[in-house]
């Protein structure tokens, strides 16, 4: 199945923090709104981002009314909604806004699971990267929840 997605800054930053940006190549098409690129740029564009194949796109974020979201999240959600593609975000509020708009939404842990499901990572490497997301990045996720995710990998 062909997979297209648009990312906000969260997964780009969190995956870069654990040297896993290459996992985004699992998607056949990856879009990055210009607003999101500028947000990532303020913290220094991760080196590996240049190795990724992605398309910078303009978005009309004003069509998304969720004021609790930042401009990058609104831009990514606007594109996902407009094009019917997956939204990648690690922000719970953005996730809820996407669900309300019937947009399919997943985060960095889903990207690792997808890479495992498609054979890019083995089980141990997937588990190790999920734990690294919790220990080594600015992503806030409860340790026990990550361990539960790893157990689901084992069950399937």
């Amino acid at each position: 199945m062909t997979l297209a997605a648009v990312s906000d800054a969260g997964p780009l930053i969190h995956l870069a923090e654990i040297d896993s940006l290459e996992l985004l190549s699992t998607f056949d098409t990856l879009l990055v709104p210009e607003t999101v690129y500028r947000e990532v740029e303020t913290g220094g564009v991760p080196d590996r981002l240049a190795d990724l194949s992605y398309e910078l796109v303009e978005a009309d974020e004003s069509r998304i009314g969720a004021e609790e979201l930042d401009a990058g999240e609104r831009a990514a959600l606007a594109i996902a909604d407009e094009r019917g593609i997956v939204l990648l975000t690690d922000d719970l509020a953005a996730r809820e806004a996407a669900s309300d708009a019937d947009v399919e939404v997943h985060g960095s842990i889903g990207i690792i699971a997808l890479s495992y499901g498609r054979g890019l990572l083995d089980r141990d490497e997937s588990a190790s990267r999920m734990r690294a997301l919790q220990h080594e990045t600015s992503l806030f996720v409860t340790e026990a929840v990550v361990e539960r995710g790893i157990r689901i990998l084992d069950e399937q």
């Binding site: 199945m1 997979l3 719970l92 996730r95 997943h106 985060g107 842990i109 889903g110 990207i111 690792i112 699971a113 997808l114 890479s115 495992y116 499901g117 996720v141 409860t142 340790e143 026990a144 929840v145 990550v146 361990e147 539960r148 995710g149 689901i152 990998l153 399937q156």
Partner: protein, 83 residues
Amino acid sequence: MAAEISDRVREIAEARGLPESEVFERALERGLEDLWEDLVLAQYLDGKLDREEAVERVGRTKVERADREREVVEEDVDWGLNA
């Protein structure tokens, strides 16, 4: 790492006007609190502790956050394995 810890302890002690021993004590308390919360939430998510007991030990906000995170992680892993 050890040098970094010593430097930070010294800086905090100076900035707060505390003895370094007090800084270590507070750090231990905070770290222990985090480890305690991890343990309680792990027991709750594993079904070894009921929800009300977990709420009593770490507070409703943290349990609700863990519930929401669990839902998100389960959705994501299930999607990743089947997409």
